[in-house]
């Protein structure tokens, strides 16, 4: 029923336009499938669970410049002051702020440093027994630090003996399970694992091991000190507005910088990913529009060129549906060849991106869905002009222009 052969012969007579359409469809398929894949990859990355109640937490940095200050003692008072602000759930000193892009990492190993065994890369936070509460976390196995396990010191002479680790780190250190009570070494210092947190992220979401995190109960107040505060989420903004004044009231010889919400910090750290995502979305939308317009334009042009021919066919008894069919078949033929070439191109492009630009391997389902989508768009854009063609009156055939 489908009149493939006449359509094909007609196509051969005006190749150039069809070839251009074919190239367009092929390129569109190749670009859209890869771009859609990258978009989805970034959406997954940006929307990943971090384990923290990001809308309740904010952090800032205090730079103290009073040389005569007993910094440890002062910060004890500061902590108390912060915890007493109405609306603040908990607050405390940290060596780094989660998701911020700046912090400390080390290698934890199963043997002391002198033996030089293999180690597991992990980010670590240093804070007191309030750490889990401040970050809105809880242990799923084991227990939290006791106050007497926290070491407050300006030097490394005394070091804690316990540690809480994330599930990912626990698994990598002890793949066989049974983690609680095991000993790991931070340099030459042994640490006993007393608790496991299911999910918490390190400072760098783009790290090779973003889920490996250890919390060490060690507080070493420094002249450049990070402080993290958790509040009731609806009060966070109000508390942040008064924090600088309160901090300076608490002690004058200090400067407060980097006062930011955790979610804002994360968004800033990820801004280049957000940018990539948005640009690709714009690219895909505009590309599909341009391609659809191209198909539309070319069909309109073809119909204008063949007005007489269509009129003749109608006069000879062709139904309207036959005319519509003709254009649909013609378009489907070009489109399926274009999509086939485009799919091969997509595979090739995906491989180039994988090899040279550290983009993960393209999932073939994306090619399939893009191909189907492109075919659908192309049929839709041909439908309207084809309908118009079907309405050409047979009498046109009898006129001489």
């Amino acid at each position: 029923m489908l009149e493939i052969k006449p359509v094909f012969s007609a196509l051969l007579r005006s190749k150039a336009g069809a070839v251009m359409l074919l190239i367009q469809i092929a390129l569109t398929t190749a670009i859209v499938s890869n771009a859609a894949f990258i978009i989805n990859d970034r959406i997954d990355y940006l929307s990943q669970e971090t384990g923290y109640p990001e809308d309740e937490i904010f952090s800032f940095t205090v730079k103290s410049f009073d040389p005569n200050l007993d910094i440890s003692q002062k910060f004890e008072e500061t902590e108390t002051m912060l915890r007493n602000i109405p609306g603040v759930e908990n607050a405390g000193l940290f060596n780094a702020s989660p998701l911020s892009g700046s912090g400390s990492a080390t290698g934890l190993s199963l043997a002391p440093a002198s033996e030089r065994g293999p180690d597991v890369r992990t980010a670590y936070y240093q804070a007191d027994e309030n750490a889990l509460d401040i970050l809105g976390l809880s242990v799923s196995q084991g227990r939290n630090f006791r106050a007497d396990e926290v070491i407050v010191s300006q030097t490394r002479d005394v070091f804690p003996q316990v540690v809480i680790v994330s599930r990912a780190l626990a698994k990598e250190l002890f793949p066989e399970g049974d983690v609680l009570g095991q000993t790991v070494y931070f340099g030459s210092d042994p640490l006993e694992i007393i608790g496991i947190v299911e999910l918490m992220k390190g400072p760098w979401l783009q790290d090779s091991k973003p889920d490996n995190v250890a919390i060490i109960p060690f507080v070493s107040a420094s002249a450049f000190q990070h402080i993290i505060v958790r509040t009731q989420s609806e009060q966070r903004a109000a508390i942040m507005r008064q924090i600088e004044d309160l901090m300076l009231e608490d002690h004058g010889k200090r400067v407060i910088i980097g006062l930011k919400e955790m979610d804002v910090r994360k968004a800033e750290y990820n801004s280049s990913n957000t940018l990539m995502l948005r640009m690709l979305v714009v690219l895909i939308i505009v590309l599909l529009l341009v391609t659809a317009l191209g198909i539309f334009g070319l069909t309109v042009f073809n119909i204008n060129k063949r007005t007489k021919q269509i009129g003749t066919r109608r006069a000879l008894g062709a139904r309207k549906s036959a005319i519509i069919n003709y254009f649909l078949v013609e378009n489907a033929m070009i489109c399926s060849i274009g999509v086939t070439i485009g799919s091969i191109g997509a595979l090739f492009l995906g491989r180039v991106l994988l090899e040279h630009y550290s983009i993960p391997a393209l999932d073939n389902m994306y090619i399939l869905f893009t191909a189907l989508f492109v075919i659908a768009i192309s049929l839709l854009s041909v439908l309207m002009p084809a309908n118009k063609a079907a309405n050409i009156s047979p009498s046109i055939a009898t006129r001489s222009i």
């Binding site: 251009m20 390129l27 009073d66 400067v255 280049s272 690709l280 714009v282 590309l287």
Partner: protein, 437 residues
């Protein structure tokens, strides 16, 4: 003749306004998207110091054991240890060289007027200024005597000088950095660079530091660096002295080498230095390994232009190709429909060549219009980039090169798309169209 062709193409555009608009729109969108990603790429990869980028070299020494991994492509650490940096800094050769590192200081004046603020500070040698071509508004760099004796002196940048002294000559005045009194010896002209190529540690597109002080102050003032510090083996570090003697990497080092000969001599020098250090048992390494990378090599090595940006540029050029295919299809239709008119012109004596050129002029006009609208679209795109990412804020602009490139790319793309249709139409046989109708 050219003007006549332009007039003809204008008429032709007016005759088929819809198709012409579609074509201009297609090229404009293609150019807009391409120029958005290309402008960011261009700003990122631009040579920050063109006249001497091939004379400035970043020094890397591999003072780790054989088999130690680093995240660089050749496993060589990006920064130097304090002892190596200072050894090279104090060496006799070459003429201009400097270790440097970033620190943070609280800046305050003796009065209550100026609220204390934090300033990003470069702790470095006096050669830093001539190496990176920094010009002085007032005063000069500290002297080598002041550097040798670790005198607390500073150089401010113009903005800091404006903030503290309302732009007046502040040389000789005092400023407190973390409660230490420093005497100001110079004020540099504001350093405007897009890429902080001399220290890529904390974001390649951060602003340069605003205060400079002698590197010899690190030990007496126990200055903590604010950048990256990386170790590769376990060391017991309790005091600042132990930190200075440690194998941790935290300083950058730059040299200016003007001739291939100087480069060769300095390579030999580093080779000898590393061999000597190797014999002291600091590290186990069969052959000394070091890098001297010039500014552009250094930026590539540090992947200043991210893979994402390259992917975007590539994809947008593919997108431009789609737009071209689109235009080509439309041009074919448009030109061929005009065959009767061309037939008449041919019969009246126009040569094939003239017809061909006339049609190319017409597509160039389309390209020019598309390019201009494309610039507007690109500005919109760049606004979106600035809105999305603070980091890219200073990069997402079009400089004059890119502004000129936009119509140039648009016109050449259109000519490329127009060649085939123009060639088809200029082969029109006049005879056919002069018959009946």
């Amino acid at each position: 003749m050219f003007l006549h062709y332009i007039d003809l193409s204008w008429r032709s555009m007016k005759r088929t306004p819809l198709v012409s608009m579609l074509m201009i729109l297609a090229i404009a969108v293609g150019i807009g998207i391409t120029m958005t990603s290309l402008s960011v790429y261009h700003m990122m990869s631009m040579d920050p110091i063109p006249h001497k980028s091939d004379k400035l070299f970043s020094v890397q020494l591999n003072t780790t054991d054989d088999g130690n991994n680093w995240w660089t492509e050749d496993d060589v650490p990006l920064q130097l240890t304090y002892k190596d940096a200072m050894a090279l800094h104090n060496a006799d050769t070459p003429e201009r060289k400097t270790a440097s590192v970033r620190a943070l200081f609280t800046v305050q004046m003796d009065d209550k007027e100026v609220k204390p603020f934090l300033a990003s500070t470069r702790v470095t040698g006096r050669d830093f200024f001539p190496i990176f071509d920094l010009e002085f508004v007032y005063g000069d760099a500290w002297t080598s005597e002041q550097e040798a004796s670790a005198t607390p002196v500073v150089v401010l940048d113009e903005e800091t000088n404006d903030r503290l002294f309302a732009g007046e000559n502040s040389v000789g005045k005092q400023v407190y950095l973390d409660d230490t009194a420093f005497r100001i010896v110079g004020v540099i002209k504001q350093w405007r660079i897009h890429t902080k190529y001399y220290d890529l540690n904390n974001g390649a597109f951060n602003s340069p530091e605003s205060i400079f002080m002698p590197i010899t102050l690190i030990a007496p003032l126990e200055i903590q660096n604010m950048g990256n510090t990386n170790g590769w083996k376990y060391e017991e570090i309790n005091t600042f002295q132990e930190r200075l003697q440690s194998e941790m990497f935290w300083l950058q080092f730059w040299v200016e080498l003007n001739t291939p000969e100087e480069l060769k001599n300095y390579s030999d020098y580093l080779q000898a230095y590393l061999s000597e250090q190797g014999t002291k048992g600091r590290f186990e390494r069969k052959t000394p390994q070091f890098n001297l990378k010039d500014v552009n090599e250094w930026m590539q090595y540090n992947k200043v232009v991210s893979a994402d940006n390259k992917v975007l540029v590539g994809l947008s050029f593919l997108f431009l190709a789609v737009c071209l295919a689109n235009i080509l299809g439309l041009l074919l239709g448009k030109f061929l429909r005009r065959a009767p008119e061309v037939g008449v012109r041919r019969a009246l004596g126009a040569s094939k060549r003239q017809i061909f050129i006339q049609h190319l002029v017409e597509v160039s006009m389309l390209g020019l219009l598309g390019g201009v609208i494309g610039i507007a679209i690109a500005q919109l795109g760049l606004w979106g980039v600035r809105f999305t990412s603070n980091e890219y804020a200073s990069l997402a602009t079009m400089d004059i090169k890119m502004l000129l490139a936009a119509p140039a790319i648009a016109i050449s793309a259109c000519i490329l798309a127009g060649i085939y249709p123009a060639w088809l139409v200029c082969r029109t046989q006049p005879a056919i169209y002069l018959k009946t109708q």
